[in-house]
């Protein structure tokens, strides 16, 4: 049985709470896909948040209300979830992972290589997934960030993505 739309459900909760976030990473790039051939399998969603403790705290509460547990590294984020804890996490630019333990993993990141939040936020696109608006980073920002990070998985994505676009362009040219 196909899993339900978890991205839409979470985005709906985040939107309702007025939380600023931008979907980045492979899941973000997928929303720019022209066809199924340029969709990449990914197990998680990366949400880029501003270095704002209030926003961070609100994002945690939204995740919790969606049934997700919060983790920092291998440890539960703990409680109470309060302003002080959010300030510590933001000051350290620490990554918090929200997970339902059944395959939905959402990384709440305060870092996007090569970019500050305001730049990505101001140029975001709003796409609709199953009736829910999702804030998505520009594709140029996603690929530039992956190029700046230069990890093995980023290199693999960039090479695969470029090849997929090349094949699409070739197909378009053949049709014309």
């Amino acid at each position: 049985m196909t899993e339900p739309n978890r991205l839409g459900a979470l985005a709906s909760t985040l939107n309702a709470a007025g939380i600023r976030y931008v979907l980045i990473g492979v899941a973000g790039a997928n929303l720019w896909a022209r066809s199924a051939s340029t969709i990449f399998t990914t197990l998680d969603y990366d949400l880029f948040l501003p270095p704002d403790p209030e926003n961070e705290l609100a994002a945690w509460e939204a995740c919790r209300s969606s049934g997700l547990e919060l983790w920092c590294g291998d440890e539960p984020l703990g409680s109470p979830l309060d302003r002080w804890l959010a300030e510590q996490v933001v000051a350290r630019r620490a990554l918090v992972r929200a997970s339902d333990g059944r395959g939905l993993d959402v990384d709440l990141t305060l870092v996007m290589a090569g970019f500050d939040f305001d730049t990505v936020w101001s140029e975001r696109r709003r796409f609709v997934v199953d009736g829910v608006e999702v804030a998505v980073a520009r594709l140029r920002h996603i690929v530039a960030s992956k190029a700046a990070a230069g990890r093995e998985k980023d290199r693999l994505f960039l090479a695969s993505h470029e090849e997929a676009l090349r094949q699409l362009g070739k197909l378009d040219a053949d049709r014309e």
Binding site: M1, T2, E3, N5, L7, G8, N30, L31, W32, A33, R34, A36, I39, T41, T42, L43, G103, R125, R126, F127, V128, V129, D130, G131, V134, R138, L139, R140, V143, A144, K146, A147, A148, G150, R151, E152, D154, R155, L158, E162, L165, R166, G169
Partner: protein
């Protein structure tokens, strides 16, 4: 284990030990132009319905979850 499969695993183990490049990647101008073209397409305007992407991704995951080894 099937000998051909063992040989494949041996090759993969060897590849795993190879040095892997890290650090910033220079993106080719052709690639960046293709990315800009994608962003400018009508189907990628704000408000575009992307439900098909998530449903496709979910189908992929569902398919993978049901995969079983041959032996």
């Amino acid at each position: 284990m099937d000998p051909s499969r063992k040989r494949l695993f041996d090759i993969l183990d060897e590849v795993r030990t190879w040095p892997r490049p890290t650090g910033p990647v220079n993106l080719r101008p052709e690639y960046l132009r293709a990315v800009e073209e994608i962003e400018a397409r009508p189907e990628n305007r704000s408000g575009a319905d992307k439900s098909w992407v998530e449903s496709t991704r979910r189908e992929f995951r569902d398919l993978i979850a049901r995969a079983k080894p041959l032996d």
